[in-house]
C-alpha cells in the first residue's frame, strides 16, 4: 500500500472543517447534552445511562465520519482525479484501499475524543472495558467506510454530500444511537434492527452488557460490509472501463 498517499489522505481529512465540526464536534456536543440529561440513571440493560450514551454517540460519530469518505470520492470523481491517477502506476484497488484505511484511521480520534468527554464527565468503566469497547467500535466502523465508498462511486460530489448528510439522520435516530431505544415505542425498537448503526451500538455495548449478541452483531455487520464491497468492486470496474 502507498503510505505517502495514506498519510496525505489522513491529513486532508483531519484538516477539513467538516471533520472538526461535524465528525468530532457533533457527537461530543450531543453526548454532553444527552449524557447530562440521562445521567447515572440505570437502563434496562443494567448499565448506567451515561456509559450507554457515550458508546452510542461514539459509534454515531465514528460511523458518520467513515461514511463521509464517499463525499470525497465523489468529488474526486467529478474533478477527474481518478483519471489523473490512471496516468500513474497506481491501480484502482490501491486507491480504494487508501480511502477505506484512511476512513478507519480517522475513526480512532473521533472515538478517543468522545471517550475523553466521557472520562471528563465521570463515565466509569474498567480499563479492560474501555479498551474492548474502543476496539469493537473501531472494527465495527469498517462496513461504514465501505458503504460510504459505494455511495461515493454513484454520484457527483455535491449530491453525495447531501445524501450522506441526510442518511446520518435516520442512521443515528432510527438506529437508536441518538435516543436510547428503551424510551421509544416498541415498533421503533423493531425497526432499528434494519439499520447498521443499531448493530454497531450493540457491538460497542457487548463488552459491558453480555446479552449474548456479539456473534449476531458481528454477523449482521459483516453482511453490511460484504454487500457494499461487492457493489464497490463492480461499480469501480465499470467506472474505470468508461473513463
Amino acid at each position: 500500500m502507498n503510505t505517502t498517499y495514506l498519510s496525505l489522505e489522513i491529513k486532508r481529512i483531519v484538516r477539513s472543517p467538516q471533520f472538526t465540526i461535524f465528525t468530532i464536534g457533533m457527537p461530543v456536543a450531543m453526548f454532553l447534552l444527552f449524557g447530562t440529561i440521562f445521567g447515572k440513571f440505570v437502563t434496562p440493560s443494567g448499565l448506567p445511562a451515561d456509559v450507554q450514551t457515550m458508546i452510542n454517540l461514539a459509534a454515531y460519530g465514528a460511523s458518520g465520519g467513515a461514511l463521509f469518505t464517499g463525499t470525497r470520492v465523489a468529488q474526486e470523481r467529478t474533478d477527474g482525479w481518478q483519471r489523473q491517477l490512471r496516468l500513474t502506476p497506481m491501480r484502482g484497488p490501491g486507491y480504494l484501499v487508501v480511502k477505506v484505511i484512511s476512513a478507519m484511521a480517522v475513526a480512532l480520534p473521533v472515538l478517543a475524543v468522545v471517550f475523553l468527554a466521557g472520562l471528563a464527565t465521570g463515565v466509569e468503566m474498567t480499563a479492560a472495558q474501555w479498551g474492548l469497547v474502543l476496539v469493537s467500535l473501531w472494527l465495527g466502523v469498517l462496513p461504514f467506510a465501505v458503504l460510504g465508498l459505494a455511495i461515493g462511486l454513484f454520484g457527483k460530489g455535491d449530491t453525495v454530500g447531501a445524501v450522506t448528510g441526510a442518511l446520518m439522520m435516520p442512521l443515528g435516530m432510527l438506529g437508536g444511537l441518538w435516543i436510547p431505544l428503551y424510551v421509544l415505542p416498541d415498533w421503533m425498537a423493531t425497526l432499528a434492527h434494519f439499520f447498521p448503526t443499531y448493530w454497531l451500538g450493540r457491538l460497542g455495548l457487548e463488552p459491558l452488557a453480555h446479552q449474548g449478541g456479539l456473534g449476531l452483531a458481528a454477523l449482521v455487520l459483516a453482511g453490511w460490509l460484504v454487500v457494499p464491497a461487492l457493489v464497490v468492486v463492480r461499480r469501480f470496474r465499470l467506472d474505470t472501463a468508461r473513463l
Partner: protein, 302 residues
C-alpha cells in the same frame, strides 16, 4: 523502449456514436523526436492522445508505447502525460501533490528535482485550489515528470499561460528533451508547432493530413491558389487537372488549390481555353494551415 520507436499508432479509430473522432490514424515516432500534433479544435487530437495513454479504448487499430501496451508503459513509468484540465486536489499543497505522484512510481525523479524542473519552488506550500491557470499547468507538468518518463505527452500544454509563461515552459521542455527523451504535444497553435517541433503531424476531422519535418509539411501545405473564371467547367473536370489538389467552384468561378500551379495553369488553358481573369497567389503557412484544416463540416468531436 530500447531500439524500437517511442510509440506507434496503426489504423487508430475511435467513434462516438455517429461521429468518427479519430479515423485510421497511423503514426510512428522515433525516440528523441519532438513531435507536434497539430490541428484545429475538434480535429481528434485529444482523443488520439487519450488512446495513446490507454485512457480510451480504440474501436480499431493498435497502440504500442515503448513496445508494450499503454498501460504497461504507464506502469513502468515510461510515459508521463499532462492532460488538458487534468485534475488536481484543491485542498492539497503543490509540494504534497508532487510527493504523492512521485510516490506512486517505481523509479521516480526526486520530488525536489520535479519541483525545480517545473519552476514551482516558490509555490510548494500553496494549495492547488489557489493557483492561477498558468500555475496549475506547471503543476500538471510536474506530475507528468514525476515518473522520469522516456516519453512525455502534452495535450494543449500552454493553453492557460501568458507569453512569458509559455517561453519558460518551452525552455523547460527543451531542457528535458535534450536528454534524449521523446515529446509529443498536441496544439492548435501553428507557431508553437513551428518553433518547437522537429516534426509536425497534422490532423483534420480525425484523419492525418500531413506528417513530416516542419519544412516538409510547410511545403506540402503551402502551395498556390489559382483563381479563374471558367465558364462551363465542372468540378470533376477541374479536379482532374494536373497539379490540382482541391477545387471550389462557385458561379463559374473556380478556386484551385495547387501543389504544382505551373502544371495546373498549363492544363487549365489546354482543356479550357475560354478561361479568363486568371490569378495565381502563394499561400503563407498560416493561410495554408487554415485552408487545410478549416472546419467545413459540422459536428467533429474533440
Amino acid at each position: 523502449m530500447d531500439g524500437g520507436p517511442a510509440f506507434a499508432l496503426h489504423g487508430l479509430t475511435k467513434r462516438f456514436g455517429p461521429v468518427t473522432a479519430v479515423d485510421g490514424v497511423s503514426v510512428e515516432v522515433a525516440r528523441g523526436e519532438i513531435v507536434a500534433l497539430l490541428g484545429p479544435n475538434g480535429a481528434g487530437k485529444s482523443t488520439t492522445v487519450d488512446m495513446l495513454l490507454g485512457l480510451t479504448k480504440p474501436d480499431a487499430g493498435t497502440v504500442a508505447v515503448g513496445g508494450g501496451s499503454p498501460r504497461e508503459a504507464v506502469d513502468r513509468g515510461l510515459v508521463g502525460a499532462m492532460m488538458q484540465n487534468g485534475a488536481l486536489l484543491p485542498d492539497v499543497t503543490v509540494g504534497e501533490i508532487v510527493e504523492l505522484i512521485v510516490s506512486t512510481h517505481a523509479k521516480p525523479l526526486p520530488a525536489a528535482e520535479v519541483i525545480a524542473r517545473a519552476g514551482l519552488e516558490h509555490l510548494v506550500k500553496r494549495r492547488c485550489g489557489k493557483l492561477s491557470g498558468g500555475e496549475r499547468q506547471r503543476v500538471r507538468f510536474a506530475l507528468a515528470l514525476a515518473g522520469d518518463p522516456r516519453l512525455l505527452v502534452l495535450d494543449e500544454p500552454t493553453a492557460a499561460m501568458d507569453v512569458d509563461g509559455r517561453r519558460a515552459f518551452w525552455a523547460a521542455i527543451r531542457e528535458f528533451a535534450a536528454t534524449g527523451r521523446t515529446v509529443l504535444f498536441a496544439t492548435h497553435y501553428l507557431a508553437e508547432a513551428e518553433d518547437y517541433a522537429d516534426r509536425v503531424v497534422l490532423m483534420r476531422h480525425g484523419a492525418l493530413v500531413a506528417d513530416g519535418p516542419v519544412a516538409e509539411v510547410r511545403a506540402a501545405v503551402s502551395g498556390r491558389v489559382l483563381k479563374a473564371a471558367v465558364p462551363g467547367a465542372t468540378e470533376a473536370e477541374l479536379a482532374a487537372l494536373p497539379g490540382v489538389t482541391t477545387v471550389q467552384l462557385r458561379a463559374g468561378r473556380a478556386e484551385l488549390a495547387c501543389a504544382d500551379s505551373d502544371a495546373a495553369i498549363r492544363g487549365l488553358l489546354a482543356a479550357h481555353p475560354q478561361a479568363s481573369d486568371i490569378e495565381i497567389t502563394a499561400l503563407g503557412l498560416e493561410e495554408a494551415f487554415l485552408a487545410l484544416t478549416a472546419d467545413e463540416t459540422e459536428g467533429a468531436a474533440a
